[in-house]
Structure formats: C-alpha cells, structure tokens
Amino acid sequence: MKIRLLALLLCANSAHADTPQQILDGLVAQAGPASVTRGEKLFRGKFSGGKTADSCTACHTENAKLPGQHARTHKAIDPIAPVAQKDRFTDAAKVEKWFKRNCQEVLGRVCSAQEKADFTAYMISVK
C-alpha cells in the first residue's frame, strides 16, 4: 500500500516536472529520431531571418554550460544546458514557449518538430 501511494505521488509529481529525456521523447514522438549533430549545427548556426539576434549563441554563448546575456537588454540568462542548470528542459510548456519566441527572434519563423527534437537532443548531450 505504501509503495503504491509513493508511486502515485511520484506520477502526480512528474506531470509537472519532466526530465529532459521525457521532454525529448515527446518531441521525438512528433518528429522522428533526433540528431545531436543537427542540433549542435542549429545551436551554432548563423541566420538572417530574425530581428533580435543572428544565432542562438549570440545570447546563450558558444558554451551552453555558461550563463548568457540577452543580446538587446543585457539581462543575465541562466545556462541553457540541463547539466549546468537543473530546471532546463523540465517543463514542456516552458520549452514550447521558448522555442516559439527564440525561433522567431533568430530564424524569423517557427521551428519544426524535427528542429526542436534535434536541439533538445544536443542540449541533453552537453556534459
């Protein structure tokens, strides 16, 4: 009984806080297999579609484990890699929100499910 209750509690808890792997699984279910290499290329790529910055690294820096800084407001940004910042990629709604904003700001368009899966796979792979 105690174990069942504990399991129930853990399940209830995981509805709010996912692991980065669970977030990735959700994206892969929509996109197909993710590629760490493609994800890194997206992270480091230079683009011209967006108005805020020409790359992810403009704000998040070349090293995903280090704190970044907003390109326009200069506000400090916590590291984006989950290995360095525990709450990264643990809330699906938050992940979607930031893909929506940042893809528009850098690429000038929405990101595909494949791009999101690749990007997330790369961030998880950063050790």
Partner: protein, 171 residues
C-alpha cells in the same frame, strides 16, 4: 549604582536589539515599489528584461505597451489573452498614478507631461534625475550594457526594491 554584570548585559542586549531594528527597518529613503502578486509577471515579462516595477510608469503607458506586444520595441512579445489581461490589470492597479501610489510614485507621475505615455522608463524625468551621477563608462560595462538592465545593479529590482543601499554596481 555600580557596574554589575547584570546591567552590563542589559546594556549590550539593548544595543544589539537596536542595531538589528535599525538594520531591518526600511528607511524612508528606500525606494520600494509594490509588485504584481503571483509569478506570472516575473516569469513572462522578467525573462527577457528586468520585471520593472509598475509604479515606474503611469497606467496610460502600460495600457499602450500591453496593446502593442506584437511589436514590443521591435520584437514579438505576445502573450496568451488570459496572461495579457492579468498582467495589464496588475500594471494599472500598481501604476505611478494608481490609487495606492506612494509619494515616490506620485513624484514619478508628476514629472511625466500630461498627454504623453512614455514607453521607456529611462526617458522619464525621475529616472534621469536619479541617475545623473552615473558616468557613461559605467553604463557601458559588459554586465550592465543598457539603461534597461536595472537588475544588473539593483539586484532586488524584480521584488520592486530599488533602494540605494541595495545597489551593487558590477565591475
């Protein structure tokens, strides 16, 4: 009355208690602004920039800003409608010309010409007056960079605290 251990101890304790009270009391000159309740404001607005205290601008400025979020200083900062309405309501309530405005907020409002709805806090008279001693070279420091980066020096700005004693200027 001679000095006894008992009254010496009483003296020490009362001095210590007084020091604690003085250190913890918000002094009259500390700029503390009311902030919206809940997490929405800091999480939505405060993720790209400081969660500016609503009392730094009048309600008409916030109304215009919240009506133009799809072009927010050149960027699309759109929110869901419930969030947009929740934040606007809080901003209007706590604005510089709101019902509960304190003396400082009224001064901020008083320095803004009627009929204008400034969008940048840094362009208001009060901001300029309060920061006139900050050298241009300090604003250019990497960790500060822009006039919009309040939280770089006012480390508790997201709690509405702009008091001078809590200013820490990064090198």
């Amino acid at each position: 009355m001679g000095i006894t251990w008992k009254n010496l101890l009483t003296l020490i304790l009362s001095v210590a208690a007084t020091v604690m009270v003085i250190n913890n009391a918000p002094a009259d000159d500390e700029a503390i602004f009311p902030m919206p309740a809940g997490k929405t404001y800091v999480e939505e607005c405060g993720s790209c920039h400081t969660a500016y205290a609503p009392g730094l601008l009048p309600a008409r400025s916030w109304r215009r800003m919240m009506g133009e979020l799809d072009n927010h200083f050149g960027e699309d900062a759109s929110l869901s409608e419930p969030q947009q309405l929740e934040i606007l309501k809080a901003l209007e309530t706590l604005a510089a010309d709101g019902n509960q405005a304190n003396m400082r907020m009224r001064r901020i409002h008083g320095a803004i010409p009627a009929g204008t709805a400034p969008q940048r806090i840094s362009e208001t008279g009060y901001f300029k007056f309060m920061h006139d001693e900050v050298r241009p070279s300090i604003w250019k420091r990497k960790k500060i960079g822009t006039l919009a980066n309040c939280i770089a020096c006012h480390t508790r700005a997201n709690e509405g605290r702009y008091g001078e004693r809590e200013v820490r200027i990064p090198q």
